[in-house]
């Protein structure tokens, strides 16, 4: 069976800095794959490449077997099938929650306003945000904003969700509510590629964990093995520092 996402030998440089030096990752249908690694190891860049927010320099990315990195591909169509949630939420500050969530469906999918709003209301209710539909983002807590951002991505009914360190900008007591939403999505069988610093969470939710180091996948495997018996010295070193920091 073809994987939902296959990343094959992806290279990406910004100027002279090579951020991704040949990355291969497979995300099978309905799996959650976690990317771990230090800041600057290329996790975010990899996710942005999958969403075509950054063009790859070489290599290919296949989504359900279709090469999305080829020139003929309509990037807007690809992005409609792949949702992404950012570290800094990136909600639209001049729109209330409902407008934030319905903008994509209404303008990109041409869903009638009434249908888009009904669907958005349903999603907001499912994630405990029903009473926030008329609020503006700056009236919401970080956790609520991030949940709205997740709902905004889900409103496009994507096949795949990308999460880019979605809890890194949150106060510690708000991390749980956002992870809870992702856990929910995992249970519904959503295909997910998750960059995270929450090792406990990665260990619990991931079907597969990839350790990125200086633009390469240094080690990958099932979470039990990566977290308990990593083979590479750099992975061991990274995990030791995480444990020292009390994050696992």
């Amino acid at each position: 069976m073809t994987a939902a996402i296959s990343i094959e030998g992806v290279h990406k440089s910004f100027g002279k800095v090579m951020v991704l030096k040949g990355v291969d990752v497979e995300v099978p249908e309905s799996n959650a794959v976690c990317l771990i690694g230090a800041s600057g190891s290329g996790k975010s860049t990899l996710l942005r490449c999958v969403n075509l927010l950054e063009p790859v320099d070489s290599g290919r990315i296949l989504v359900h077997g279709d090469d999305i990195t080829s020139y003929e591909v309509d990037a807007n169509r690809v992005r409609r099938r792949i949702g992404i949630v950012f570290q800094a939420f990136n909600l639209f500050p001049h729109m209330n929650v409902l407008e934030n969530v319905t903008l994509g469906p209404r303008k990109a999918l041409k869903t009638p306003k009434r249908d888009a709003e009904a669907r958005a209301t349903e999603l907001l209710a499912r994630f405990g945000l029903a009473d926030k539909r008329n609020e503006y983002p700056d009236r919401l807590s970080g956790g609520q904003q991030q949940r709205v951002a997740i709902v905004r991505a889900l409103a496009m009914e994507p096949d795949i969700m990308l999460f880019d360190e979605v809890t890194s900008a949150l106060d510690p007591e708000l991390v749980g509510e956002v992870l809870g939403v992702i856990r929910d999505l995992a249970q519904t069988g959503m295909t997910m590629l998750i960059a995270t610093h929450e090792m406990g969470f990665a260990r619990e939710i991931a079907d597969h964990v990839c350790f990125l180091d200086q633009g390469r996948i240094l080690e990958q495997g099932p979470p039990e093995r990566i977290f308990t018996a990593p083979e590479e010295p750099r992975t061991q070193e990274f995990l030791r520092r995480i444990i020292e920091a009390g994050r696992m």
């Binding site: 942005r48 969403n51 927010l53 990037a75 807007n76 169509r77 992005r79 409609r80 949702g83 992404i84 950012f86 800094a88 990136n90 909600l91 639209f92 500050p93 001049h94 209330n96 903008l103 994509g104 303008k107 990109a108 999918l109 008329n134 609020e135 503006y136 700056d138 009236r139 905004r152 991505a153 496009m156």
Partner: protein, 175 residues
């Protein structure tokens, strides 16, 4: 005290004056057929050309002040470049440039006095004519009142717009 004087006297003044004299004195002088010969028309055109350039810069600065992550968020939803500008970038930019735009509109108001240079009589020039005829300075006061009658409501409107935007966001919690 000196620097605002310098800025406001040099800013646009020279360009506006040059363009006004070039167009309002020059074009009618060419006596081209089918081209308006009115110096008011050409002086207005000159002001439009000068100020549209200023206003364009203000809008550009506003658009660039919107963080790139907003564009990334919009494009990630599958919105096209144009839709992203239309629904996400420009609405935020316009809210931010209200104060500098107001500034330019008031500057434009003042620069209409430059039009007199090319012949057409505007408020300040008219006041000068009355003053010369009657040795009475009241017409200048009158011109100043006219100027204020236009700028004060404009300033108030801009303040109201900014306030309304702020209130809308703050009040959403109560609703």
């Amino acid at each position: 005290m000196l620097s605002p004087l310098r800025t406001s006297s040099m800013r646009g003044w020279v360009v506006a004056l040059t363009l006004i004299s070039l167009l309002a004195l020059g074009v009618p002088g060419l006596q081209l057929s089918g081209v308006p010969a009115s110096s008011v028309f050409w002086a207005t055109t000159a002001l439009i050309l000068v100020y549209s350039a200023y206003v364009a810069e203000v809008y550009r600065a506003g658009i660039e002040s919107v963080h790139p992550s907003q564009e990334a968020a919009a494009r990630s939803l599958g919105l096209s470049r144009l839709q992203t500008l239309r629904y996400v970038i420009v609405p935020q930019a316009v809210r931010r440039v209200i104060p500098p735009l107001l500034n330019d509109f008031i500057g434009l108001q003042k620069d209409t006095a430059l039009v007199a240079f090319a012949g057409p009589v505007e408020a300040l020039r008219q006041a000068g004519i009355f003053e010369a005829a009657n040795f009475n300075f009241t017409p200048y006061v009158c011109a100043a009142v006219l100027f204020l009658a236009l700028t004060i409501p404009l300033t108030r409107t801009a303040d109201w717009l900014i306030d309304r935007d702020r209130r809308k966001r703050a009040a959403s919690g109560v609703a």
